[in-house]
């Protein structure tokens, strides 16, 4: 057993992860509990040990928002986990539930119609932009920049309004369902999206002036919290944090789902791996998401009236629901969904949320409930970064690193 630990230590050294000799840790260190009631922590606790002003050891103590999603997913049938799971990343609801829906679809052997796929991508990208803006807002407040918080929060409302126009809910959309989506867009919707894109492009310029090119902010972020490419791969860090370190890993590209393989977009990658690079990745992703949105609404305008839900579902509709589907373009969820049975089998659903890759391992024994739903969210995978990115930095760098990792505890704790 001791051999294993030595192996572990040597392995860490080889990676260049900061390890401070234990002699120094024992002497004159100061243990600080940051969180859960702390302005710089959110709903988690980071236990840091400081030597003077330098962090020598950091340990994330998570689980403050553990709401037992995996257990509840096992007892709530197949359709009810969708609203359940979107509470993990409430401002990124479509991205976080779509992989589950796809996993269930895979087990059922159905595939959503083309238009439904485009509609899913539409909401996913709207959510991605809103989630990145939320991340900016929190990041701004961590760096003491309240104007950044307010601007990003205000502009996030634009995208939330769009999502609300599409689905009827500000945050918790429950939009994708097995077989398709619940609603179609109305005729003015593409123009609304284009207006929002025009507005956001103008605002990104303002952000650059006030935040990204601000000398104070730049000096706080440059060279802080560097995670090397090798560390990213070893620690399994995903999302913009990985792409800020030069790892071009994005599920939309690596394992394309829905219609991402038909769309023209780039995955921004920065090589530096510091907090500034991670911030830039997010800005570039907002731009790319807006490019995707333009293509999607163009396609949607050209292909009006195509089905939004799979035949195997809509064929079971009664005449009233069929009428609603045809006239109002709304797919009702029927009682048959609540007692839906899914053939036995196992599937993995994966997707790229704003924070990175989310994985659902869904196992069915052919019954009314999933036998096992295992969820690995991007924040859960990024949590380990705190342990290895913080040591060696000053205490005042903690909010900068925390904010740049864009960690969202409810998502991590499930």
């Amino acid at each position: 057993m001791s051999g294993d630990i030595r192996f572990y230590g040597a392995f860490k050294d080889e990676l260049g992860l900061k390890t401070i000799p234990s002699r120094r840790i024992a002497k004159d260190t100061y243990e600080i509990f940051i969180g859960p009631q702390h302005p710089g922590s959110g709903h988690m606790r980071i236990i840091i040990k400081v030597d003077g002003d330098v962090i020598v050891e950091a340990e994330p103590d998570i689980g403050y928002v553990h709401r037992t999603m995996e257990k509840l997913g096992e007892i709530r049938g197949w359709i009810k986990p969708i609203p359940l799971f979107e509470r993990m990343a409430i401002h990124d609801a479509c991205n976080i539930t779509l992989p589950y829906v796809r996993a269930v679809e895979k087990l059922m052997g159905v595939e959503a119609p083309e238009r439904a796929k485009y509609l899913r991508v539409l909401l996913c990208e709207i959510n991605r932009i809103a989630a990145h803006l939320y991340g900016f807002a929190i990041f701004g407040i961590f760096l003491g920049h309240s104007t950044m918080y307010m601007w990003a929060m205000g502009d996030r409302e634009v995208w939330i309004e769009l999502a609300q126009e599409l689905t009827g809910a500000r945050l918790t959309h429950s939009y994708p369902v097995p077989g398709g989506v619940r609603r179609d867009i109305h005729d003015e919707y593409p123009d609304m999206v284009r207006r929002a894109i025009r507005y956001m492009r103008k605002r990104l310029e303002d952000y650059r002036k006030l935040f990204l090119d601000n000398p104070v902010i730049k000096s706080r972020l440059e060279g802080v919290g560097v995670i090397s490419k090798k560390q990213v791969v070893e620690l399994g860090i995903v999302g913009p944090n990985a792409r800020g370190s030069g790892v071009a890993y994005d599920v939309r590209l690596a394992d394309p789902y829905e219609v991402y393989d038909q769309l023209d977009f780039e995955i921004p990658v920065f090589e530096e791996g510091d907090a500034l690079a991670r911030t830039y990745v997010r800005v570039e992703e907002i731009k790319q998401s807006m490019n995707i949105l333009e293509q999607v609404v163009d396609w949607l305008e050209k292909h009006k009236g195509e089905p939004i839900i799979h035949e195997s579902v809509s064929s079971k509709y009664g005449p009233v629901h069929k009428k609603v589907l045809q006239e109002q373009r709304r797919a009702k969820l029927l009682p048959l969904h609540a007692t839906m049975k899914v053939p036995a089998g196992r599937a993995i659903g994966r997707g790229e949320t704003a924070r990175g890759e989310v994985i659902y391992y869904v196992e069915s024994d052919g019954g009314l409930n999933p036998y096992r739903v295992r969820i690995v969210t991007p924040s859960a995978r990024n949590a380990i970064a705190f342990k290895y990115a913080l040591p060696g930095h000053k205490v005042m760098d903690l909010p900068a690193i925390y904010g740049s990792l864009d960690y969202f505890p409810p998502e991590s704790d499930r």
Binding site: P36, Q37, H38, P39, G42, H43, G63, Y64, V65, H66, R67, T68, K71, L72, P83, L84, R87, M88, I90, H91, Y134, A137, I138, Y149, M150, W151, M153, G154, D155, R156, E157, V158, I160, R170, L171, T172, P410
Partner: protein
């Protein structure tokens, strides 16, 4: 996206404010003045218990601007007088909620936000969720999952009214006691797991 001037969507604050000002300038009864001051200076403490925090953040964003009611999210519990339970409270978090509540100086108030804070919400049968009202006394409940920012603003205004109507703060200054309730003690020791 700024809030439009001259339009209020959340109740008749203006009238209440004018009345409060009259009390302050006219009769100048100290307790009423304290009620008025407390109701227009409800600073929520920064304790994010769960995912309703996104809507809470939006409440204090520019579109809904909770600061216009004099409410400013503040960093340390010692200087605040309002705690907003933002959604689910887990067993691990309940300890933090209780400690934060006890660190706040009286007169203090609590708003429970979201269905989970009412009675568990979607997580009503989860093994890791406690009801916030078992941990601290709640003044205002906001339904919704998550509640819209308007309803959070509305809850703040309702709490302001409640403080002025029932003289919650003034009574506390006079007697050292909240007139409307006994202090809630949690049934079980929510922090027992931490020491043990």
């Amino acid at each position: 996206m700024a809030a439009e001037e001259g339009k209020v969507y959340v109740g008749n604050v203006d009238v209440a404010a004018r009345r409060a000002r009259d009390i302050l300038l006219g009769k100048l009864k100290l307790e009423d003045a304290v009620d008025w001051a407390t109701s227009f200076s409800l600073w929520p403490v920064h304790l994010t218990t769960s995912c309703c925090s996104t809507e809470f953040a939006a409440t204090f964003g520019p579109r809904f601007d909770g600061e216009q009611f004099g409410s400013l999210p503040w960093v340390s519990p010692r200087q605040t007088n309002l705690i907003v339970i933002e959604g689910t409270v887990t067993r691990k978090m309940a300890c933090a909620v209780r400690i934060t509540w006890e660190q706040m100086p009286s007169p203090k108030f609590a708003i429970a936000m979201g269905a989970c804070a009412l009675d568990g919400g979607l997580f009503y049968n989860s093994y890791n969720v406690v009801r916030p009202w078992e941990v601290i006394p709640i003044d205002i409940y906001i339904p919704g999952c998550p509640p819209r920012p308007e309803s959070v603003a509305r809850a703040i205004v309702e709490l302001q009214r409640k403080i002025r109507r029932k003289h919650l703060a003034g009574e506390w200054v006079r007697t050292g006691w909240r007139p409307d309730r006994e202090p809630v003690k949690p049934k079980e020791d929510v922090c027992s797991w931490w020491r043990g």
